[in-house]
Symmetry: C2
Subunit: 625 residues, 2 copies
Amino acid sequence: MQPIHQKRIDEASWDVIDTAMSPKITGELLKHLRQVMKNCKYFSEPIQAYIIPSGDAHQSEYIAPCDCRREFICGFNGSAGTAIVTEQHAAMWTDGRYFLQASQQMDNNWTLMKMGLKETPSQEDWLISVLPENSKVGVDPWIIAADQWKNMSKALSSAGHSLVAVQDNMIDVVWTDRPERPSTPLRTLGLEYTGMSWQDKITTLRAKMTERKISWFVATALDEIAWLFNLRGADIEYNPVFFAYSIIGMNTIRLFVDLKRLSHPTLRDHLQLDSPSRPELSIQTFPYESVYTELQAICAALSPKDKVWICEKASCALTQVIPKSHKAPIPYTPLCLAKAVKNATEIQGMKMAHIKDAAALCEQFAWLEKEVFSRFSEKDFVGLSFPTISSVGPNGAIIHYRPLPETNRTLTTNEIYLIDSGAQYVDGTTDVTRTMHFGTPSAFEKECFTNVLKGHIAVSAAIFPNGTKGHLLDSFARAALWESGLDYLHGTGHGVGCFLNVHEGPCGISYKTFADEPLEAGMIVSDEPGYYEDGCFGIRLENVVLVVPANPKYNYRNRGSLTFEPLTLVPIQVKMMNTELLTQKERDWVNEYHRKCREVVGAELERQDKKEALEWLIRETQPVV
Amino acid sequence: MQPIHQKRIDEASWDVIDTAMSPKITGELLKHLRQVMKNCKYFSEPIQAYIIPSGDAHQSEYIAPCDCRREFICGFNGSAGTAIVTEQHAAMWTDGRYFLQASQQMDNNWTLMKMGLKETPSQEDWLISVLPENSKVGVDPWIIAADQWKNMSKALSSAGHSLVAVQDNMIDVVWTDRPERPSTPLRTLGLEYTGMSWQDKITTLRAKMTERKISWFVATALDEIAWLFNLRGADIEYNPVFFAYSIIGMNTIRLFVDLKRLSHPTLRDHLQLDSPSRPELSIQTFPYESVYTELQAICAALSPKDKVWICEKASCALTQVIPKSHKAPIPYTPLCLAKAVKNATEIQGMKMAHIKDAAALCEQFAWLEKEVFSRFSEKDFVGLSFPTISSVGPNGAIIHYRPLPETNRTLTTNEIYLIDSGAQYVDGTTDVTRTMHFGTPSAFEKECFTNVLKGHIAVSAAIFPNGTKGHLLDSFARAALWESGLDYLHGTGHGVGCFLNVHEGPCGISYKTFADEPLEAGMIVSDEPGYYEDGCFGIRLENVVLVVPANPKYNYRNRGSLTFEPLTLVPIQVKMMNTELLTQKERDWVNEYHRKCREVVGAELERQDKKEALEWLIRETQPVV
């Protein structure tokens, strides 16, 4: 799936998948919101501007329908965007992936702020230019991260304004039919899937805390909590997580979650709620909403030397509970780092999931005209890992396009077909994009595809030293496109969770340099360069790849080297390649990759006795010369 | 010349060029310094640790002998390093380029802290681990930059210590024979060299200030001041600059400089000191030392809305004079940016200087055994732009090696010869590294050289979009080395001034992402990958290259593309190449480069009637197949 630019962004609201690409009418809504902004019931004074970021109280990338406030107010449902409403203006900032989509989804009440263009002001500069003196700018402190609050507050203060925390979310006041917060059943994961018990994970975490002289750790990211307790939920579509917080001390574990969810005996047994093995591994459970008051109580009882770890990206509301002298903010939590480096069981699971997924895709591609998602019948299949992006011709140029009735195009033999899809299996998460043509691609289409392929191979085959950060590999994916004067406006790869979120930190491959911990063996990222010709077609080639040790000829300073091993094993359409543009090394890579697809996925298809899919696989993996 | 890792670093002390690679004996010196640290004459209370950074009050990269305090106290004379002395310990931090050299130059009183290794503590962490509770850590506020002060102070405070500004430099107290601050004659540069009068530069600067609502600008970087006033000095060896400050308001220009230097009529005329054309272009001159009190006076008279621009990297001492409400710190000054984009006159001058330099080098290489620096006789030659690095065999592996008597090796036909040298011409600055062998290189030496060459070509021939930052090109230079498990521990390129510092910001090509403004047409950087085999040899290939527009086949989103044009035109030794490892594209690049060397430098050598050099040039530029 196409990589994200920022970690703290939401994704489109999946419950409105049938919304047309026509603008939302927002005149009355904005009128109502502006009345609320003047109403001193919500804040002691009227506020002159209200910021509506993407996101939920956990800074999740994908969010539940009840948290899609930015989409509700402006109509734009892309994954990244921030809306700001003042008495006179309404503006929405988003990046290059979404310029086209946002302009189609918002009505004339809204100004589209195209991020990344020189002439586009930052949110701060724009606010300063439009606000009257001494203005109050409101924001929900649960939605805005502590570091964003700090930057925005500083910029506004320096211009004589102030950023204020409005406890009641003002969008919720005007959103009369807002959906409820989900509370789906929890699933426990045994050692055969996780490779490590939650008790051992807690012990490892506490060892890190001791090492850094930390007394408490506040966990707010949903995937970190799911990983820590070896639990999964389905509160957010595509992400197998559940709404919760956790606070871990050296002797106590507090879990904040809708208590109704903890009644099933299997679950109580997994968490040892009724008979903890050791007192320091006893979990105390609290209602989800009480995290604020519990954290206050913990902070009131701190000794002078006690330090509390909280992620810099956690909500402003929770971060501000911890007194400054006790606060130890960290860019990435130890859970985030531990989760990123997959253990042997997780890697094995990921490999298995990818083989199953490849088999399913071969079947899908072989019988594409039936439009059957054969993946659904695979063993351990749980659900999709994100909404399938499947587009024909010009729709492929909208980078995050999903089929909506009005804009659906029939698959023809004249146009490029792009499919980006992924699935959640109990043993792993997949994410793959292929681009193909069922007729005869034009020379330009083949040239672009081949340049994208060259970039894909350059990353996938790169050998690089231990400790290299992903951003240093991003240009490898672009060099061939750049040489033709082409490019794509998104990053090259994102971290991939193991039966967890399809997007995860702290590593990635992007020209942006944040969320960029050094790559190490066991990390899993996507490799997905693309090219999008507005109004004509979109091309993207994506594999999920595992960081593995490499053994080049020499070993400079004993640092060791890394490279990638593709986990995704789905043929890349040879028909789309202009093989004359490939070097011998690149042709060798394609042939070796296809040999592995045929060998590994072929065996799986034989086992499943899927003859047509196997024939398709064999045809599509003929060597190129 | 080899790129710098940090802007704010000094270079070795050039007056002690005959110092051997044997450790400095520092026992007595440290004893004396520790007495001074306890003496309340210098600070109201005893201090428990004293930080001695590299650098001068202008955060210059190269520094005058009087400012080489870190070298004086510990003996290590590399360009980057920070020493810290406590009551019990003495430690010195430096990076991978200098591990070998530092360990040879420091005695057992000192602990070498190898930066970049996982086990090496940061300065802050180390201080916190060794200091008694409530310690005072002293530093000279003129030497430490404001941003560094802030970070260090924050880290120390959070552990119960405090960072204190000690006005008298404590090294100067123990340095009895410290040299005087230089005050060399100033040289004026006319429009034929600068392309723009200082008056027009001031007017452009003021237009930027008006645009950003800034009332005052404090210039502290020596090369920015030299560029602004179209003046050059020779206060710091290799850098044609002079010690000065300048404060520019909307109607006034204050220049702080040793007033004795302003007596020459040509200079007074150039600066219009006696008959300014317009009142707002009248320069008021002040003694160098009075910048502190003058800035205080200016700040005392500020209106509430007045803002003062000062670089974030300026000294802590000067930055703290400006009240917080008026301070507008900037990562790069407008002068730094304006200076980086060369105008047509400057580019023409740089091209000319490089042709002359190439002719001189051809002569030098042709008659290497005579060890004549024929460059000295070239037209407009001013001096070297940095100390020539010329090394044989294992000495090449010390990245910043300069020939010192004890370690000098005779040039033989058995070893690799590396020469990195540059010159200042009135029309431009050069910097070139070539690596050659006068006998028969080994297969391994050729393999390494060829991988370095592949990296050099990958950067030089890269086409990339407008707006790309240099760090995104760094990995191109390394990919071939990485593929063999090799690497080099320095950046790939630095900005190059035009008859100014051979190292300048704000652009560069490095895996580090600071000091990294987007590349744009007219910027000039070096392209210098290398490989260093400890104890055996060093390889580096360096050209100075100009950023120029490129015209690839397509033009995505109308952004335009850039590439590099080599300004350096010195043959690359074919004998060192394993041409079988080169692709056809790389062979074409080498042949086209050599064709240009032959055509352009050949014409110059013919003009100068240098027959032997011309023969050498023709022989060294035969096409490779």
